[in-house]
Symmetry: none
Subunit: 217 residues, 4 copies
DNA sequence: GATGAATGAGGGTTCATTCAT
DNA sequence: GATGAATGAACCCTCATTCAT
């Protein structure tokens, strides 16, 4: 929702400000050209700092990349967590909100949605480990969402969590990428609805649905 | 169709045999390390030819990459086409077969499934155009499948084709990538079934479902 | 002599204390890694001061290096001078004491013995001039020693001073470096004796030797 | 003696010729500026090849350096071996010839004599191991020479070989370096004689000397 | 057709030095 | 006096591409 998600924590001191500017530029440049095509010189120029300054704040190109991705994942994960913790919310609305948040995030940070998808070929084992960890953290939130759906009776109790999560995140990424290519901002609402309905009607617990139907009558 | 690309190892003409070996090595190396991390030297070595030979058969690294991706997409598209053209097949089984074919392909050519997903950042406009074309060709087959589902009454008639295709391919890629990471070959059957059910039960035409239910009784 | 350079750690004036600490760290770091491999950052860290502080006390890396070498050469030269000025000492014992002092110094400051040997390639003309000057000062003391040997009749009067000094210092450095590599501290006594004997018996004035022999009988 | 010691072995094929030219340039540049100050660009320019060509023939800067040093040590060691194997030569003349060869070599390859002396700070462990090996090979020849001196009765039998070798090589290096600084080519003869006399008269077996003296009468 | 030595533009990284605080 | 963030020139090395054989 807020246009600037990665607002610097203590932006008054100039040092942190520089680091934030570098991370910002990294987000832009890595997003535009991808990791291997982006150059440190470009990022430095975009951040209006010397090339050496990058290496004062980050140990290497990989480290800068990692810092940027971490900031991003923490951003989306924080939002998703707060969605999950919203009290007194019927599950379908929770699912919808969650989906919308994901799509909105990949819209606002369209340059970067790729990194969730991108294979980590050519990275150091250390960075791969980090990326894996962040991916797992993200998937954990998705899993929690689905688990809630089962718990509240909206999803069939016999579902294999992992499969549902795979399908769900697959759809999220696919729609996120479509936005990347086609710039349909105003479709987020419709797309989130579509995904929600597809999931609910597909894996909803029919007996419970019937119950609900009966309750309404 | 084209006798060159599908030509197996037993080609008599030695020139085509060399080119095939190069494409094979390109598939392996590009798959293992990704486009930017793979080097022409590696590919040449893997193909047991000189580096110069690559440039006799392909104009550039991008050209070789394009050649490889084309071969791949033609391979899967050919298979999917033949699935779609199988006569007298109830739609659910068609959907299942299609899905299985996709998953199987991404398993057998796991090194390459990435290329469908990978963003084409850093490529020349020319190559990007080609990649886009092949992607569209692949999506066209998916669209055709979904269209059939609607036509035959298994899917709701009011569905927006593009959205369904996006969701479907998203799931395909997600499961394909999971295979990449986890090596669950024998899950293909189960996964395809899961996807099929999720789709059918989710976007199935309820009235028609009722019809079917009634027909059974 | 100079109260700054020889000032020990217990200096009251804090500024001089900082400079001394820097010189100490320079000695350690330059000694361990060599001039070109040592970095100002390392030296600053070892001296527990900021990088900028180095530049308050020394104009440049070369200047710091020069300051350190100067301190060292003054140290050894002072010692050698005092050896040479010891009154009423038979020449062979003087020679032995001189040699031992050199070997002991290169043992205690093993990290630095290298600098006498190290070629000054890549240094500024200014620094090279200084290094040359200090080398000459050191050689002058050696020359003085040999001259004394001739004057007192222990060495042949027809010797070319420069050649003897070259040979002598060559042996000193060779044994000094051997210590650097092999850590035989307790060999200094034996080595000094060996060098003394080699020199004396080799370049001694035979006629005088005969005289001595006869005097003993 | 021969002006061109490192004459290419099979200089007809152009590839070997290029490699030889690179080694030659490396000798010059490394010699002039030292390892750390020399740049690959300079060496490439001196060899009239592209920078990349260096990396076709050598894996790295260190590797090139190692190749150069190896060629040098093999050159001098070969010469010294042939000196040692000269048949029917009285030991003093052998000693003289050996010394002259060393001095002449360090004159002809003055840029490089340094490498025997230079400490290997800042090199990889691998290169250090190689340098150590070559140094030992060179010292082995010196040891062999001294051993011969003892065997033939010219040197006292109770001498510690290692000490004599240390002193001998120390003098060789010192005179070699003096040449480096002062360009006294025509002094080699005199210097070699000086070293020989210093050694012989110093560590000669007196009883044998007496014998010789008596034989002469 | 095939080869591989040669090329050089370009990238990541280091580090002595400066200067505002 | 002291600091350390910022700088940018310079370096080693990679690798797609070429071309003589």
């Amino acid at each position: 929702m807020s246009d600037k998600i990665e607002a610097p924590k203590t932006a008054i001191c100039p040092e942190a400000e520089t680091k934030a500017r570098i991370l910002d530029s990294a987000l832009t440049i890595f997003g535009e050209k991808g990791y291997h095509q982006a150059t440190m010189a470009e990022i430095a120029e975009a951040a209006r700092v010397g090339k050496g300054t990058l290496y004062w704040h980050f140990a290497s190109k990989e480290d800068l990349f990692a810092g940027m991705v971490e900031q991003l994942t923490q951003g989306i994960n924080l939002k998703l967590k707060s969605v999950l913790e919203t009290p007194d919310q019927p599950f379908p609305e929770l699912l919808l909100a969650f989906t919308k948040e994901c799509l909105a995030y990949s819209y606002h940070h369209r340059e970067v949605a790729r990194f969730f998808m991108s294979t980590s070929q050519g990275f150091s084992e250390e960075l791969r480990k980090k990326l894996r960890k962040w991916r797992i953290e993200f998937l954990a939130l998705n899993t929690e969402l689905i688990r809630l759906g089962i718990e509240t009776g909206y999803f069939r109790p016999d579902l294999e969590l992992a499969k549902v999560v795979t399908a769900f995140t697959g759809m999220l990424f696919a729609f996120g990428e479509r936005q990347l290519l086609e710039e349909n901002w105003n479709e987020i609402e419709a797309e989130a609805l579509f995904i929600k309905d597809l999931l609910i009607q597909g894996i909803a617990n029919k007996s419970r649905e019937d119950q609900i139907d009966e309750e309404k009558t």
